[in-house]
């Protein structure tokens, strides 16, 4: 209703103005002898053409008329929209008491929820069939109500509803369907009961309520309404943060909310080790055998590590709970709470956003229609791995579009598989060679040759113009005229960081790198941190950046966890990354590794010992990145496989170190087939010094030794 007035207020001056102008112009046209035009009224907004000619007048009329009409339309729409919005709001409010979560009024009136909920608590105590004052319930109850006391006041929306009236019908509602609402309204009841002046009934009640919370019907997944630590996203960064928080804050309660159905897992094996497994049931077990025969699961921890969300509040020693299959759709920073896709609200003290990203797709594929999309895989999650594994067994030809890390790794993995089956593996990308944006050209060429040797048909300098589906086969038309026919496409063309919550939370998104903009301590706003692929952070040494690597997710997740527990440390420990493209090509890298930067490469002869396989066998560890933690290499293990001797010719880059420079300072280093030297590389980058002779710096790596 108010909008009507404001709209009219907006319209009125314009209406007045245009009518005055009309009157004015009528007068003016009468005065053709060029005399000064009539007085302009003070409220006049626009300036008409002084003594203007007829044509100009008409144009002016048209403009003003159009503006008037446009304003009229806008006003009409606003009024209508407001009406609709209002109606929706009323509907939402009226539907809320039936949900039986909160029916209590304004947040500031903390007493109102208490008194209302106390009434709710009492009838609840009655339907509880087993009011066991179990001693174990006593301990969680003091801490639980404290945590939950915040919940009712924070999660209540300020509806213009009556204070106590709705709360009375709500207990009645509650008793009817016993398990669900009882379970849900227990926290407010417990909290309110604990705080209410009625001390006597309050004490046994939390116990009763807490106990019955634990005994609630297991079929209903209960979401805690408040958690001290909320981690949005269930990937690597989130898990690392959870571990960090638990280590530093004794008995911390951490809730991870993820829209995936899986517990936190590591991503690199999905494009590497899992494909090399001999186990036919690998897609179910998701376990992989490493070089040295040791097996592990891609899941960071088995399910027994976590506690269930229902138990989180009452857990004496805290724990990590994972809420799967739920997406956070709205974030209220002022109220310190989030809303899930099923309308549940969770309030928090500290929040981490670790939402990662979504694989990008090529526009030509998106526009190509369902038949093409059906035959396209965007590879990121476990389900994508399972799907691609299945598909690859049933087709003759697969094409990977993209020449970066993921594309090349998948190409090599599938290429290996093609040795056993008839699978044709094609990889196409716009650059000149594999890893063209990362490696200097000579190494990129070398890598491409290796990839080809893994059985992959590499089509470089390929820009996709269109994709169509004909007779159950996909036809990829390239811009230079080439046509590639294939059965399935895997698009590995980058990652779009997930910043869905930026709008509702009022968080800044970086325009250069994408992702949430955070400071050097990974903080976005007061109680909000961001880590992993989605974080565009300030690196004190290397400047603002966003990193999409596994180790970075671990490092940043850990750091965020530390800062969420009061550490205030900036990003300092530089993360690394690695890639293995087949058994012969392996490298580890750190810092900014961008092929557009000037590079200096120092190479030595390569022997059979300098392969990723040899490196892991020697240090006796499964995955190369683990061996980096060992500061000394273990006694060498004789390689049981006779690897071929690598011929040294001018262009054979067997092993070496490549420095990436920016303004004469080393900002990135690649260790090419040289392992267990990452600490030295890290040190050089950390120092950020200008070195006159990089060969001297290269000496520090002892590239000729093992």
């Amino acid at each position: 209703m108010l909008k009507c007035r404001t709209a009219w207020k907006k319209l009125a001056p314009l209406a007045r103005a245009s009518s005055t102008v009309c009157r004015q112009n009528v007068r003016r046209t009468g005065l053709t002898n060029g005399r000064i035009p009539a007085l302009v009224p003070a409220a006049h907004m626009s300036t008409g053409p002084a003594g203007g000619g007829g044509g100009e007048n008409r144009l002016y009329f048209a403009l003003v008329g159009a503006a008037f009409v446009a304003t009229g339309i806008y006003a009409y729409r606003t009024v209508k929209g407001d009406k609709q919005r209002y109606q929706e709001r009323i509907d939402e409010i009226s539907s809320r008491p039936s949900k039986a979560t909160e029916s209590d009024p304004e947040p500031p009136a903390a007493e109102a929820p208490e008194t209302a909920a106390v009434e709710a608590a009492e009838p609840e105590a009655v339907p509880e069939p087993e009011p066991q004052a179990a001693p174990s319930a006593e301990e969680p109850s003091p801490s639980a109500p404290d945590a939950e006391a915040a919940a009712p006041s924070e999660t209540t929306e300020p509806p213009p509803a009556e204070p106590s009236a709705p709360s009375e019908p709500s207990p009645a509602d509650l008793t009817e369907p016993p398990p669900a609402p009882v379970v849900e309204s227990e926290p407010p009841a417990a909290a309110a009961a604990a705080e209410s002046p009625a001390a006597e009934p309050a004490e046994p009640q939390p116990e009763v309520v807490a106990e019955s919370a634990v005994e609630a019907v297991p079929a209903l997944p209960k979401v805690p309404s408040h958690t001290p630590y909320l981690l949005i996203g269930g990937g690597t960064a989130s898990f690392a943060a959870a571990r960090s928080i638990r280590a530093r804050d004794p008995n911390a309660k951490v809730l991870i909310v993820t829209d995936e159905p899986d517990l936190p897992y590591m991503r690199p094996p999905l494009s590497k080790e899992l494909w090399f497994s001999d186990d036919p049931s690998v897609t179910d077990t998701l376990r992989f055998k490493q070089w040295n025969g040791k097996e592990r699961s891609i899941y960071f921890q088995p399910a027994s590590f976590y506690i269930s969300p229902e138990e989180l509040d009452s857990a004496e020693n805290g724990g990590v709970a994972v809420l799967t299959g739920k997406k956070v759709v709205h974030m209220d920073v002022r109220g310190n709470k989030v809303k899930l896709d099923d309308e549940t609200e969770i309030s928090y003290d500290k929040c981490l956003i670790a939402t990662g990203g979504v694989p990008r797709n090529l526009q030509v594929i998106e526009r190509a229609g369902d038949e093409v999309m059906k035959r396209t895989t965007l590879f990121r999650k476990i389900e994508d791995f399972k799907a691609l594994d299945k598909v690859s067994r049933n087709i003759q030809s697969v094409t990977i579009i993209g020449g970066g890390f993921l594309g090349s790794e998948l190409a090599c993995a599938l290429g290996r598989r093609s040795n056993e089956s008839d699978l044709e593996v094609i990889q196409m990308f716009p650059e000149k060679g594999n890893m063209g944006k990362v490696l200097p050209e000579y190494l990129s060429n070398w890598t491409t040759a290796k990839v080809k040797r893994e059985g992959v048909k590499v089509i470089a300098e390929a820009l996709v113009k269109s994709v169509t589906c004909k007779d159950d086969k996909l036809e990829i038309q390239l811009k230079d005229g080439r046509l590639v026919k294939t059965d399935h496409i895997v698009a590995a063309v980058g990652l779009e960081p997930n910043v869905d919550l930026a709008k509702s939370a009022g968080l800044e998104v970086d325009s250069d790198f994408g992702g949430y903009r955070v400071n050097a301590e990974l903080q976005a706003r007061s109680n909000i941190w961001v880590a992993g692929d989605a974080a565009c952070f300030y690196d004190i040494r290397l400047g603002r950046r966003r990193v999409e690597h596994h180790d970075h997710a671990v490092v940043s997740g850990r750091l965020a966890g530390e800062n969420m527990t009061g550490a205030n440390k900036p990003y300092w420990h530089q993360s690394m990354f690695w890639s293995d493209l087949g058994p012969d090509v392996g490298y580890e890298a750190i810092g900014i590794v961008d092929s557009s930067l000037p590079t200096v490469g120092v190479f030595a002869k390569a022997t059979a010992k300098d392969t990723p396989k040899a490196a892991t066998e020697e240090s006796g560890t499964g995955i190369r990145s683990e061996s980096e933690t060992e500061d000394t290499a273990v006694s060498p293990v004789a390689s049981s496989l006779p690897a071929p001797v690598v011929q040294q010719n001018k262009d054979d880059y067997g092993k070496g170190v490549i420095f990436y420079l920016r303004d004469k300072v080393v900002v990135g280093i690649i260790l090419w087939n040289v392992f267990n030297r990452m600490p030295i590389a890290r040190k050089i980058i950390k120092d950020g010094e200008e070195h006159a002779d990089l060969n001297e710096v290269a000496k520090l790596f002892n590239i000729h030794e093992d």
Binding site: A247, P250, F305, W572, S625, E630, V634, E696
Partner: protein, 160 residues
């Protein structure tokens, strides 16, 4: 070097073993062991235990985390002649807790007790590994996580 780019952009140097025999004259800045930004090792500069040390893996953060912390703290601060002799109860609590989660703490813990703490034998599921990123289960490898003071803080955590 590629002909298409300016010759200075990507320099390549091939070196023989002899070329690299002379020690490097590259200067590195001295490390400050008390630098608060750096990743700390197991023992912090003030003598406390760094529970977030990657070397401990998930020991301090798992379901038996608090028992582990109590036991290990007791041991660390123990001034008895036989270090940790008064901590038997704590260790027993920890072991009992761990027995309830055999998946996380496989029963090679016997070795752990005879060492300085239980962190030296991380469980196979990878909950207590030095490089928890994607590390292999180092169930019986002594070099993976010996929480002794000899572990140098700078080399401690590199891969993650």
């Amino acid at each position: 070097m590629s002909p298409s780019e300016s010759p200075c952009k990507d320099r390549i140097i091939f070196v023989t073993r002899e070329d690299h025999e002379t020690p490097s004259n590259a200067e590195l800045i001295a490390e400050d062991p008390d630098d608060p930004y750096e990743e700390q090792g197991l023992i912090l500069p003030n003598g406390d235990i760094n529970w977030n040390c990657p070397c401990l893996g998930g020991m301090a953060s798992g379901p038996c985390g608090s028992q582990f912390k109590e036991a290990f703290s007791c041991f660390h601060y123990s001034k008895e002649e036989v270090k940790g002799s008064e901590c038997i109860d704590n260790f027993r609590n920890m072991q009992e807790c761990m027995q309830r989660y055999p998946e996380l703490y496989p029963q090679e813990e016997d070795k752990a007790e005879s060492n300085s703490g239980s962190a030296s034998d991380p469980p196979t599921e990878g909950s207590a590994l030095p490089s928890e990123t994607d590390s292999a289960p180092a169930s019986s490898e002594p070099e993976s996580a010996v929480p002794s003071d000899s572990m140098s803080p700078t080399d401690d955590q590199t891969a993650s």
